[in-house]
Subunit: 335 residues, 2 copies
């Protein structure tokens, strides 16, 4: 009988073998012939390895523009891409709640695999655990990636210099608003579609076109505000943004106005900050705008000598306000 | 005010920064000075990389002989060790339930770090997510490891040959029984202490002393029965065990008799199977017995031509029974 619902008995022994053979291996399209070793031995690779891990606990599991599987692949691919590391190998660890719909599991794993295929990343190893009903929330996925940093490349949040330009790769806040709208069934934000996307391709094109790029950082939890505060602190500089230059999609602007939130603090899953020398900013912008996820890229600010605050915003009416790290979790479980 | 309980507000922004600075970085003793990049760039290493991931959902979080932190480090170290890979880098992803005691979190992370320190494995990157109360069970940890396989080493579950000897590295079943006793408060098994231990050191000594070792496999979920069935299937051989040769600690024997369970199907977290050419079996045994976690190592069987069943056991009274993969989850959440 085909598996329709995840049971505790799928957590080990013959039950686990059935779950792997029927649902997980077909979805992930990994080598199903064995031998199944304790660890995958990878082909050697050139360049230095980059290594990153992320646990994904997004609620709901499926949302406009993506699902937990797509998000789990993109999140780790993007963390590697932001270091200029070509994504090579992915480890996928699943925690499944007893009672999870097997068709949903299959869908999200297919999403995950599709992103890996598109990016040329191989799913190298995995693990599956089942916990009793009420002890998890459907499913959690932890992905861990190994990437390959080309010789001589050294992106770091500590690299900014005074006079540099600050670029954002597209309209901000769509992921967080899409999740919030899906979770709370907010009709006024129902057209929000997550920006969730893999960023290796566009990051690679940017780094090839503009070798002087100093920093890349994806603006996930805490949004652009968190990313810029981190960079400013690590580089010991102040960033000054211009409000009217920041691309804020209408649905994000509307929802944030209504809910009293700041678009700069809303999470993205397919947008990043690039800090580049001012004389290369337009080349960078043109490169980003030439590719799908960067169509709405914009220069949003400049790097200044460190002042009292890490990030300042010149408002539409010419005032200045401090852009703060969000105090805590504005939107829990957006990733 | 110091953090005493994990709150949803510790999941992002300034709250997450406080959790990292007060609890997580001090416990893991990782570089706290930044810059905090999206991915860790590792030193290059010789040999081929081995890669493995495991989600840990053990219940209870602390048990005789260990806790979820120790288990999370050992589990991944051991998966690497079983491929003959020196553990080098660890990624640690935490999923924390709102309401988790901060002192408990600190204790289990200190346990995790101690095992890494002892094994010479560096904690290279991590991630922390907080989910709302009732959506996880205290905490889950996913660890992912990168190891280094020495040139020319090629352990595989497909390597067994007829005539080989099957060795177990110590008394079996203690981890599963210790977890069960702690969870169900079984007084008759209360002296069971988990065998949870990092196995790189003993595996490395064995591989140096006996270069002919064909297979190493730790006997975790599904116990020795699952490990041997997997190896027998991958090598297309039959393994014949001798019941009286199998080291079963008294407390495991007693608990299994009482509960109607088979010690061969009980999980271990510090025991492994080694398959070696018969003429090197005694050298292997002596090497294992010379080091703490291998003191009770024993030759428990031989490899035969593939018959109808993957694993057979000659019983104490001279009969033969099939040793099966456990049908499903005998003891949920033992790791």
């Amino acid at each position: 009988m085909p598996i329709t619902t995840i049971q505790l008995s799928h957590g080990s022994g013959a039950g686990l073998r059935a779950l792997l053979n029927e649902i997980i291996y077909p979805a992930l399209a990994t080598d199903q012939t064995g031998p199944f070793e304790d660890a995958a031995v990878l082909s050697s690779f050139s360049g230095r390895p980059a290594f990153t891990t992320d646990a994904f606990v997004v609620d709901p599991l499926e949302f406009p523009g993506g699902d937990i599987g797509k998000l789990s692949a993109c999140g780790t691919i993007n963390d590697l891409a932001m270091m200029g590391a070509r994504p090579r190998f992915l480890a996928v660890a699943l925690i499944l709640e007893e009672g999870l719909d097997a068709a949903l599991l299959s869908r999200v794993l297919c999403s995950l695999r599709r992103i890996c295929d598109d990016t040329g990343m191989r799913i190298a190893c995995g693990d599956t655990k089942v916990v009793d009903r009420g002890k998890a929330d459907g499913m959690f996925i932890t992905t861990t990636g190994i990437g390959e940093v080309a010789e001589g490349r050294a992106l770091s949040a500590a690299n900014c210099k005074e006079g540099d330009s600050v670029i954002v790769s597209g309209g901000i806040g769509l992921h967080g608003i899409a999740i919030l709208a899906a979770r709370k069934k907010l009709s006024f934000a129902s057209e929000a579609v997550s920006d969730c996307a893999p960023l290796w391709d566009i990051a690679d094109r940017l780094l090839r076109a503009v070798p002087g790029v100093r920093v890349l950082r994806d603006a996930t939890r805490g949004g652009v505000a968190a990313a810029l505060n981190e960079i400013a602190d690590d580089s010991q500089v102040t960033m000054r943004l211009t409000a009217k230059a920041i691309p804020v999609p209408g649905v994000v602007h509307g929802a944030c106005s209504f809910l009293g939130m700041d678009p700069l603090q809303i999470a993205n899953e397919g947008r990043f900050i690039a800090v580049v020398p001012a004389d290369q900013a337009h080349k960078a912008l043109d490169t980003l705008r030439g590719h799908a996820p960067g169509r709405d890229a914009a220069i949003i600010g400049t790097v200044e000598k460190r002042g009292r605050f890490p990030v300042l915003l010149t408002t539409d009416i010419g005032g200045t306000r401090v852009v703060e790290l969000p105090p805590g979790e504005l939107l829990p479980r957006i990733c």
